[in-house]
């Protein structure tokens, strides 16, 4: 879709077909004419053809519309605030969190708890980091405030679990070390979803 086409918002005058709204028939003869007209118009068969066409589309042209959800998932927008991810540094594989405590401070639901200490190199080390997802309101302040892009919102939106503690530990949220190459950089708030181009549609404004 080119830009000119996209910017042309005069949808109302283009492809819309005006319905031929008959008047309510007054006499018996008019009613009879209406019935005959409607009977022999091939409208009923148009309906049949449309359904058959969709069936052919679905079966033979691969236009099946179903997403088999638990087995395949649609890409999710980076704006979506799902379960948090803790990212690693790509070079060393060490976690990015520097233990500054800003996320804990800004958290308006008071659900982030962290404990830090100095390790043997006099670097700050995160000894304990939990997010209580029973309290978290997924406001996204923690990701916004993080100076190192260490805590971000990930793609995991299925938050149902048998136990509260299931995904609240630092290790659970941390990118597994063997999947470091799959780690996705946070696009930041306002980023468009990866399939945004396909989803663009004209909004019909001028009815």
């Amino acid at each position: 879709m080119s830009l000119e086409q996209f910017k042309n918002r005069n949808v109302g005058t283009q492809n819309y077909v005006k319905l031929d709204l008959d008047h309510t028939p007054t006499s018996g003869w008019c009613q009879f004419k209406q019935v005959v007209k409607r009977t022999f118009k091939p409208e009923l068969f148009v309906g049949l053809w449309v359904t058959l066409r969709e069936m052919i589309n679905a079966l033979f042209r691969g236009k099946m519309h179903t997403t088999q959800y638990p087995f395949e998932k649609l890409p999710i927008s980076p704006r979506y605030r799902a379960i948090h991810d803790m990212l690693r540094l790509l070079e060393s594989g060490h976690y990015r969190c520097i233990g500054c405590g800003l996320c804990e401070k800004i958290c308006i639901a008071n659900c982030i708890t962290m404990e830090t200490r100095y390790d043997e190199n006099q670097r700050k080390e995160v000894s304990e980091y939990t997010i209580n997802f029973g309290r978290c309101i997924f406001c996204g302040y923690c990701a916004e405030v993080c100076p190192e892009l260490a805590i971000v919102h990930g793609q995991r939106y299925e938050t149902a679990s048998e136990q509260r503690a299931s995904f609240s530990l630092f290790e659970d949220m941390l990118t597994p070390i063997d999947q470091l190459n799959l780690q996705q950089e946070y696009q930041g708030f306002g980023a468009v979803s990866p399939n945004a181009d396909e989803n663009i549609k004209k909004t019909p404004l001028a009815y």
Partner: protein
């Protein structure tokens, strides 16, 4: 042998069903047993080899009892028992008994007197439908046509009685038509 067994099964079932029809206080029971009895009667026709009459019995009486159901549905709560009024049970019993006696005498007399003759015995090579048609359009032509005219008269009378407001339409409104005209003209401009 099979016919013998089947006849007695049909006979007993039909009798029981019609007894239920008369005795039951529940509309639903009596009508259901009436319908089932009518269907079972067609079984006798099949046993006698009169397939056509059997099927006609099936179609005609099934429809007729269905219409009765429609009335029952309008007048009664089908799940409750109907309270019957008996002004004079002795009189009812007497009259009913007398009628039953008359019927028994009427139908048993020819059998006892042994003077039943088949005027139209079954011929070979003529199907059921043809045989019925032959009789209807030769010997019984006048009663047949008179019955047809009577039904037609009843139907027209029914339509006239029921159809006083037939031309009045709930969906038709000229005011709406006018409004739509105006709207359409606006749209064209």
């Amino acid at each position: 042998m099979y016919e013998f067994i089947a006849f007695y099964i049909f006979a007993i079932a039909t009798t029981i069903l019609f007894v239920i029809t008369v005795m039951s206080k529940n509309v639903l029971y009596s009508m259901t047993s009436l319908a089932a009895g009518m269907v079972l009667i067609s079984g006798f026709f099949f046993l006698l080899g009169a397939d056509f009459l059997g099927v006609v019995q099936l179609i005609v009486y099934v429809g007729a009892v269905m219409a009765l159901y429609a009335f029952a549905m309008m007048f009664f709560d089908a799940t409750k028992n109907v309270k019957e009024k008996h002004q004079n049970p002795a009189l009812v019993f007497l009259l009913g008994g007398l009628m039953a006696l008359v019927f028994v005498i009427m139908f048993s007399a020819p059998v006892i007197g042994d003077n039943i003759q088949a005027l139209y015995p079954i011929e070979d090579g003529v199907g059921n439908a043809q045989a019925v048609g032959m009789v209807l359009f030769t010997k019984y032509l006048v009663p047949f046509e008179v019955a047809a005219v009577m039904l037609l008269v009843a139907m027209i009378a029914g339509i006239i009685l029921a159809g006083k407001k037939m031309d009045y339409s709930l969906t038709k409104s000229e005011a709406i038509d006018e409004e739509m005209n105006v709207e359409l003209k606006k749209g064209e401009e």
